[in-house]
Amino acid sequence: MQYQSQAVAKLYFTAAIGLFAGQILFGLILGLQYVVGDFLFPEIPFNVARMVHTNLLIVWILFGFMGAAYYLVPEEAERELHSPGLAVLMFWVFLVAGALTILGYLLVPYSGLAKMTGNDLLPTMGREFLEQPTITKIGIVIVALAFLYNIGMTILSGRKTVVNLVLLIGLAGLAVLFLFAFYNPDNLVEDKLYWWWVVHLWVEGVWELILGSILAFVLIKTTGVDREVIEKWLYVIIAMTLITGIIGTGHHYYWIGTPEYWQWWGSVFSALEPIPFFMMTVFAFNMVNRRRRNHLNKVAVLWALGTAVMAFLGAGVWGFLHTLSPVNYYTHGSQITAAHGHMAFYGAYAMIVLTIISYAMPMMRGRKAANSNRSQVLEMWSFWLMTVSMVFITLFLTGAGILQVYLQRYSDTPLPFMVVQEKIALFYWMREVAGVVFLAGLVLYIASFFVGSKDPEAAVEQAASPTA
Amino acid sequence: MNTDSRNRGRSCTLIYIVLMLLTLVTWVVGRLGLQGLPVTLSVLALALLKGQLIGDWFMGLRNVRGFWRWAILIWLAGVGVLVGVAFFFSSGLH
């Protein structure tokens, strides 16, 4: 850590990990409710648990992004953060607002929460991922503005690097697109249309810029490859992301009442969205193979490579699977969607946050470059447990999805929804088992912060191993 | 040292004239309202040929080895096959 103010990132990362744990607990509750319908009913109904699961996901990823920015921006700009105090203040504002919102979900019926928070004045609630009360949304905007101001001032008055500029554009885009969360037209078609401007243009647009820049930063640091080479890749990846991703929004406009030509626009452009993800994979492996040094923090390199691979699988492969309109006609809103949503979110955004945490946390906790061997090995175990179990979650959901689509929508004698759900319950059980393994991985992950923290730092090794 | 690039310049001028002429041919075919599968496929073939001239001479792939030497040709072949097949099977479907 070269600059004192980078340390604020520690707060953000710690909160991110805590909320991640919460998200997984609610995931397991949901998974059980899928097969044991009245589990925890009426205390925590499925819709509430689902809302908590997905909102915690978004919030912890956002904490992770902000932490990443507070860590890497000063280092790239070669100056202290514009205002560390503001960063700490905003951390607490965001955390308290987040906690109150989650408590609101859990303690008050949703419609009551809407009334309590004055949703009538400016109705924004009730849409997936954007369920937060309007007042929370306003809070998010304030935090985002203060954050952008802080980061922006640091970047603009310091050394300007491509990594920093791309990150800034991504974060600014994230904030600007969130403003569509306040736009809630009565017309249901328009409502959906703009809802995707937040959800799709986030994960398949501006978030990819954030992902690309964090990945580039970690690769520059751990491989020692020339910044110029890495920057060139970043440019091309971003250009491809925007070209394919913006019009690719059309893959959500097939059946919501929008004109038919979206079936063409959406299919053609989104079919190419895997390209930037694929380029990211090639990029990461290429850089690691051309490395000039063997960084002591091996597990951070493992996370970086894992992110590149899993993002490509989850977003690129599983996204492509159902993105062409003739396919999506059958798979829309099925377990195929959930399979893709899980692997893509984990592979791209959960993993990139875990990557930067893995790289930065040791230094913020007083290490020179890396954790002790023991702690790194434990973290590697957690990497494999979480990643492999996520692959299985995805496979089981894909199996469930294929059966669901066939039995309910494709066969000559289509069965009713609930009948099909009964028939594919086995897959849901297996998903739940894989979810428990995931939780075990997460426990090891958290343990890796404590185990071996008294041991000496990992030392230089003579022989270079090619990947990690 | 400039004779080589002069020559190259002259070749490119020639290619340019050929491209302009081939474009006129395509236009005349449209103008005369010529129809039928052979005509259609010839127009397509002309377009692919023009594409290859652009790739070889204008983009300079003539002087490249390996994958990039063939990149444009591969693309043109792909487009040619896809479009050709579609027009082949739709001829006589009026």
């Binding site: 063409w264 | 040292m1 594409g51 204008f58 490249v64 479009v83 097949v85 479907l93």
Partner: protein
Amino acid sequence: MTRGGSLPETSRYPPGDLAVWIFILAELAVFAIFFAAYAFTRMQHVALFDQYQATLDRNAALFNTLALVTASYFVVRAVTAIREGRTASARNRLWAAVGMGGLFLLVKGMEYAHHLGEGIRLSTNAFYMFYLSLTFFHFMHVILGILVLMVLAMRTAAGHYSAQSHTDIESGASYWHMVDLVWLILFPLVYVMH
């Protein structure tokens, strides 16, 4: 990168920045899919496609093809000039190419005005959906290509490039040729073949 005026040796990589070439391939892939989609959709609606293709202005398309090819030629000549270190002439040729691109936009813009004036929209029918989508997507590329050429012309004038160092110009030139190449397929496909 710099291949002065020596013997026409071969190189492993095309002129310009490799990243730009990867980008070009990706762009070509988009257009290829669009072309195939056009052709296969036409299979289902041959009569409709032929009927409405006849409403397009083939003369305008001819003019535009000639304009783009000419622009490409100027770009080729600009690269030749800069390879010989003749900056002023490189700059003039780049501006000439920009002019030709501008003509393309003007004529295409008039075609659009005409169609839109007749009430034709993306939803009118399958043919017009493709005609408008394909040509407009290409139109955006012409705009981008022109912007690139303008920046290159200004930077050439400012003395950024020399016989030894002009990778940017080669990259921009390759991009522009790609825009031209796509149109050379698009023109017969959408305006002529039936």
